[in-house]
């Protein structure tokens, strides 16, 4: 069973006046089949955690460990992490002009699966996955994220989640910028993947709204670069009622 273990993770970024520490000792274990919601105010370091796990070059790990089934994730390049089973659905997916969605998906699936999927089965697989996410078939011929609306970008991220079937899925603010219909569609996609029991999900969000559609097993409050409190789904209800105030003032240095 795939397990992602984060232990005492410290991460810095280069700022104008030298490196600035953003993550200050994160401890978290995500097992296959579990869903963890990471909630916290803006600037608390949630997205830094997501991008650090995926290996974005902007972030420097200064301490701690991340392992996936005992393998050192921090030693892996970005593409190796993806092939090992770590998937990051991005808050701001990047435009790649000249590369069609269908070409991109197939290249990616080939890399992740270690062999090119059989064309006929693949076409069917993509078509069905797109239908489930209410995506127009012509979408496959557009260039990756080029001219996509906010909702289309997020659907496209979840389409990849469904096709690539990672062991660990990190969803970075997948709910941001979505209207209620799109939020429901995207959440249904995430739930289909979760229901397979094959994925451990790390759901990063600012709002509790998405948790009405995706029920977490664990909720963690992120503040000042580390996990300030952990609990069950009821913790989200508390945050809904009280906000992050208790974590941001005074308590932040605790």
């Amino acid at each position: 069973m795939a397990t992602l273990e984060i232990h005492d993770l410290h991460v810095s970024v280069d700022a104008e006046n030298g490196p600035r520490e953003i993550l200050k000792g994160v401890d978290l274990t995500v097992k296959q089949g579990e869903t963890h919601a990471i909630m916290g105010p803006n600037g608390s370091g949630k997205s830094t955690l997501a991008y650090s796990l995926a290996g974005h070059p902007k972030y420097t790990v200064t301490g701690g460990t991340v392992t996936l089934d005992g393998e050192d994730v921090l030693e892996m390049s970005v593409d190796e992490r993806a092939r090992a089973g770590v998937f990051l659905a991005m808050q701001y997916p990047v435009e790649v002009p000249g590369v069609s969605v269908s070409n991109f998906l197939r290249t990616s699936a080939t890399a992740i699966r270690g062999e090119a999927p059989k064309l006929r089965l693949w076409v069917k697989e993509v078509k069905e996955a797109m239908e489930r996410l209410h995506m127009d078939p012509e979408f496959a011929e557009r260039n990756v994220n080029e001219g996509f609306s906010g909702g289309e970008k997020k659907r496209h991220e979840i389409l990849q989640l469904e096709l690539l079937k990672p062991a660990i899925a990190i969803l970075d603010e997948t709910d941001s910028g979505l209207d209620v219909d799109a939020l429901r569609t995207v959440s249904e996609g995430v739930n289909r993947v979760r229901e397979t029991g094959q994925v451990g999900t790390l759901l990063i969000t600012h709002y509790t709204r998405i948790l009405r559609y995706i029920k977490p097993d664990h909720v963690h409050v992120f503040a000042n670069g580390r996990i300030a409190e952990s609990g069950g789904a009821e913790l989200a209800d508390k945050l809904e009622a009280e906000g992050y105030e208790a974590y941001t003032k005074g308590g932040a240095t605790a």
Partner: protein, 394 residues
Amino acid sequence: MAEAQNIPAGSTTTGSIAVAAESTVATRMSAPPSYDVADFPVPHGREEEWRFTPLARLRGLHDGSAVAGGADLKIDITAPEGVTHELVDREDPRVGKAGKPVDRVAAQAYSNFEKASVVTVPKETVLTEPIRITVHGAGGTAFGHQVVELGAFAEAVVVIDHTGDALLAANVDYLLGDGAKLTVVSVQDWDDNAVHVGQHNALVGRDATFKSVVVTFGGDLVRLHPRVTYAGPGGEAELYGLYFTEQGQHQEHRLFVDHEATNCRSNVVYKGALQGQDAHAVWIGDVLIQASATGTDTYELNRNLVLTDGARVDSVPNLEIETGEIVGAGHASATGRFDDEQLFYLMARGIPADEARRLVVRGFFAELVQQIGLPDVEERLMSKIEAELEASAA
């Protein structure tokens, strides 16, 4: 992130659309067109038409010090039945008919070549196989002149391949009779030291269709000057170009479409990818719509993809319009960068860095190659791009 893509990396894009009675396109040249090299002053590098070109690397083509000799340039012409091929003197009326040299090196080529090669497709002859011209250099210096003439309603595809090493100044004339259809693919696949400068003149007959595909991969310095004029109304010109400029290479494409006849159409699409220190691509797109050229429809587009730091693009579209009675006129130029965010995104989906770069470049060129409309040429170009990408990754 996304918004960073259109920040040009070491590039300039200074286009202009002039609506004026005075032709700036013509007056920007330092001397009027002429067949005689003596009519052109030796360029010093600050002239409008030379300001992007590293003159020293022309190895004397621009100042008369380059002398023909050394290893021969080997030229082979394979043509289907019905096509004639001959060597003629410069007095032959077909030689130079498509256009006068507009700069000193083109005039030097015209003044220095010994015999011009003329390939003729008789009127109403429709070829099913391409005419192939291979030019292979073995390190010598050469001046040349090639004419391709299509009679009225003839149809042909010509593929010109340049390989090996040479210091070459050579012009090519395309003469299209009324209603003729000519597609030319000129591939510059030179070795690293080659220098190739030339002017390509197309004279497009009434209702004739000229399609040019210029593909530049190799060479130390390649500077080509494709030009189109229309001999009568209703002509069409599609000018496609594709270049892959690598470390230290200078690849310059200077286009000029002169709309004088009525109801003619021109469409220019040039795309280039650059990588490596001091890779330098220059694209100049001049279009002139003369007062007489009513019903003109023209568009020119240049796109560049900068893959690494240290590369430079200069892209200058110029459109000059002397009549308002046209169908359309426009231009666009953009230089984008394959940036770290795109690379990260593709790698985060399991795609290794080299393959990610290939995917982007392949996609970038495929959009253009698909417009060529000749399946075997398209296939060959894509596999050539593939090989170029493999070589650059190694």
